[in-house]
Amino acid sequence: MNARHIGLVAKKELSGLSSEKTIVFAILLQVFIAMFSSFLMVGLTAMYDPEALEGYSTATYGVGYAGADSPLIDEFEKRHDLVLHRMDLSPALAALRERRVAAVIYAPDTPPDAEGPVAITLYLIQNDLQSSVINVKIKEVLQGYERELREVRADRMVSFPVGLNFPDAGNAESFYEFVYGLLLPILVLLPAIISAALIIDLITEEYQRQTLETLLSTPVTFTEMVFGKILACWAIVPVQAGAWILLLGLNGIMVGNAVPILLHVAAAGLFLILLGAATALHYRERTSAQFVFSTAVVVLFLLVMAVPYNPLNLVVRLAVETAGPVHWLILALVTVATALLAGAVAAYGRRVARAPPATAR
């Protein structure tokens, strides 16, 4: 194989990508996925009423309370964002329907130390985002009440949980796990998947448009042509992944160990691209190749994710700086597997080149 020929083919494919502006779609796609994921997290609360975004933290919600006196009332006293109104059940429910209270609680006349359970009825408004907010707040109150009831009935328990004292850090739900544990690995591996789909298009197009012979009449050999295309697809992977890490950093989401992460992405990306190339060489027809390849990728990803210390997990660990040197070992393993696959694709390419494309239309 001649490196200069491979470089030439790669250059031609890259300029084709930029002149057709298809790469713009690929980048738009990734931006869209990123924005959409953050919408899911942040936008959920804002959908109902944008003003409520800041209102959620300071607003005070009225809760109607009906039924018998119970220690639950004291639990509510501890909250500054929930105000309890003693009401009768019927007017309370009518008020709930008119949204004059945010929830209604009915407590029966069961003593805390009774034989049976304390059965409380909680009324919320259906189809309402505010109910979701209230739900969370009341859940905390009820859990406090549950703890209290457990203490009252402690003499009936046979075993007790180990006690832990948690610091009062507020209940601010952070998106830490979502960003580092899900969004980041998806974002850095998306370019690899896109490139793998791209190599299938590039190879099958030569067959289906019957442009292969023209290309092979130049000094470039078949294998060089294939690897030139692979190189072009591979080159754009770390660039896009690196851009994502930079963008996340600009957004205040610091990603540790950027260089090792990019190495992992590059190795895994090349593996996927080679797999795509092999599928394309086998089928020489886009629909079949894309279909088989995407199904195979789903299987592969499920399998990889089920294994501890998989590359996706390593990307996460590297980003939050808990990886340890073991990731170099995994990287070496993936690299060896990729090199073996590259050898296999080269051998397959030479075999396919000798046999003229008979199956292509």
Partner: protein, 601 residues
């Protein structure tokens, strides 16, 4: 040949051809991969998903406590004596020393604390569930009842407050009639055994069973739950449903897309076009097998997951929409990579459009704009009404019809085999729709029929700009909404100017602008009042669909916008189109902002 019989001929031919090119080599492997997928899924369910393994470091001095976090693979546990741990305290996100929990004062430390707290709650629940006296472990049971509120969020418009009442110190009194309600019973109407079983079911859930068990949730306990089980009704599970149904649809539409594209490779479809078969028959005939396959696949999935077959009703317009877009993309793409990127991009947009409202399926009326919400509701056993069906599927039926019509009209030699770039081909398609005899009527209809697309795109911008802070997002939304509308209105004019440069005279421009403006307004009104009135009343909606005041003002605005772009086209030629669009959008945005600010103050 009659239309029906030629459609049948084409359909049979298409079926045979795709089976021979695909069938023998792909199907066995696909079946093998599918079997492998089942195996791997089982393996993943067994071993769990190891994506977030070891992201937190926790130091513990008590093996008893360490046992609480061992099942959670997110934690790397270091068990040592308190003194050693304290000396290395900065290496850990969390320290647990003699029952006291210390968390690092970072985002990561707080996230780890939340994770630990959840684990601890689960552990306490496990201990409680093991008690011989169930009601000592679980003394509190909640019966959650939902009340339908008569005031929906249209209320904000009429000055009513939807959020928390302003004065919360005084007990509120209902202003309307009070229905007498019998208080619920003080005892739990479910046997203790059923409750135990319920706890065992919810306690032993593996991470994946949450997804496999969405359809068959047990109702033995009648909605009774412990406080820990109270969770806000946000169905992220809907995401799984989306993939179960949309993924196969996406693939089948890919086959159709490729079949259309194949007709164009090396002018392969020339023979077909030279037969006396009408283009409509070719398009429909080619699409029918794929439509049938998609319906069959959806039905099979429905039966497989044990859902009611009625969910095929809302899926049908989605299938049509996918096919219609596949037709246009297959006709327009220049190369395979363009086909791939455009189709992936389109399907991502479509999937998120389908998915995002579904998130609110149990929380908000807005969710009905996605047909998938109807699927979720049907699976939950709530069903949907005919009005809801029309409301959520109208956009899909309309856009599919328009796209299929545009595809059929343009299914001609000179369009299919030209080598122009994507955008100019699409403009050609638009020009193909404009009739030569009645250009103004065509423009009127064209702009009326762009409305569903404009709404769809604007809904997507609503999604996109949501997470930008409030005043900025409103401004960006206003400007982008104006831009989208101006593009939609002027595209017909642009197409005509390109195809027939002589057409664009002052008189024709004026007439055309009036036709387009009127068409746009009529389409907007029809669709809005028919379907989208709910969304238009929220604050974001009032930005997007502002032009709903008195009739003559939006009409003038629409005509004015087209006139601006048209004048630029007339004076500066096609190169002035983009500047013209920008000027028109600025004027449009200013109009919108003026009314928005007026409306807000």
């Amino acid at each position: 040949m009659s239309l029906a019989s030629s459609i049948r001929t084409i359909a049979v031919w298409e079926m045979n051809r795709s089976m021979t090119t695909m069938g023998r080599s792909v199907l066995p492997l696909a079946a093998g991969l599918l079997a492998l997928l089942v195996l791997v899924t089982a393996f993943a369910a067994q071993s769990g998903v190891h994506m977030q393994d070891g992201i937190y470091r926790i130091g513990i001095d008590d093996p008893e406590v360490a046992r609480i976090v061992t099942p959670d693979s997110r934690f790397t546990v270091e068990l040592a004596d308190g003194h050693t741990l304290w000396n290395d305290r900065f290496a850990y996100d969390i320290l647990v020393l003699s029952g006291e929990v210390y968390a690092a004062d970072t985002d990561k430390g707080r996230a780890a604390l939340t994770a630990l707290r959840r684990d601890y709650d689960a552990y306490v629940s496990r201990v409680a569930a093991a008690q011989p006296d169930l009601f000592a472990g679980y003394p509190l049971w909640i019966d959650l009842e939902y009340v339908r509120s008569e005031i929906d969020f249209l209320a904000t418009q009429s000055g009513q407050q939807v959020g928390a009442p302003a004065d919360t110190r005084r007990p509120p009194a209902p202003s309307g009639p009070v229905e007498a309600v019998t208080p619920p019973p003080a005892t739990v109407p479910v046997s203790e055994n059923d409750l135990r079983q319920h706890l065992a079911e919810t306690g032993s859930q593996s991470p994946l069973s949450r997804y496999t068990g969405i359809i068959s949730s047990s109702s033995a306990t009648d909605g009774l739950r412990t406080p820990a089980e109270l969770s806000p009704p946000l169905p992220y599970d809907a995401l799984i449903l989306v993939f179960v149904f949309i993924f196969p649809l996406y693939f089948t539409s890919q086959f159709f897309m490729m079949s259309v594209m194949n007709e164009r490779i090396g002018r392969a479809g020339e023979a077909l076009l030279s037969t006396p078969v009408r283009p409509a028959a070719i398009v429909v005939g080619k699409a029918v097998p794929y439509l049938a396959i998609m319906l069959l696949v959806s039905a099979a999935i429905t039966v497989f997951i044990g859902a009611p077959l009625a969910i095929l009703l809302p899926l049908f317009p989605v299938i049509l929409f996918f096919l219609a877009n596949a037709l246009i993309i297959g006709m327009a793409a220049r190369s395979f990579k363009e086909l791939s990127f455009v189709s992936i991009f389109f399907s991502t947009l479509a999937t998120s459009y389908l998915f995002f409202p579904t998130v609110f399926a149990n929380t908000h009326v807005i969710s009905i704009i996605s047909p998938l919400t109807l699927v979720v509701l049907q699976i939950q056993g709530e069903g949907f009404t005919a009005v809801e069906y029309i409301y959520s599927t109208a956009l899909f039926f309309l856009t599919s019809a328009v796209l299929i019509y545009a595809g059929t009209v343009n299914f001609r030699e000179e369009r299919l085999f030209s080598e122009k770039p994507l955008t100019s081909r699409l403009v050609d398609f638009v020009a193909g729709v404009i009739g030569r005899d009645h250009p103004h009527l065509s423009l009127f209809l064209l702009s009326a029929f762009t409305i569903p697309f404009v709404f769809m795109v604007q809904m997507m911008t609503l999604v996109l700009f949501f997470n930008i802070p409030m005043p900025l997002s409103l401004v960006i939304l206003t400007v982008s909404a104006a831009f989208i509308e101006e593009v939609a209105k002027s595209v017909g004019l642009y197409a005509i100017a390109r195809e027939r440069p002589g057409f664009l005279t002052v008189k024709n421009l004026l007439l055309g602008a009036v036709a387009i403006g009127a068409g746009f307004l009529v389409g907007e009104k029809l669709l809005l009042f028919a379907t989208l009135s709910q969304i238009t009343e929220s604050i974001f909606g009032s930005v997007l669909f502002l032009s709903l005041q008195v009739l003559w003002m939006p009409l003038l605005l629409h005509i004015g916008g087209v006139l601006i772009t048209g004048t630029f086209l007339l004076v500066g030629g096609r190169r002035a189109y983009v500047p013209g669009l920008v000027v028109a959008s600025v004027v449009h945005s200013l109009y919108n902002l003026y009314f928005l600010l007026g409306g807000l103050s």
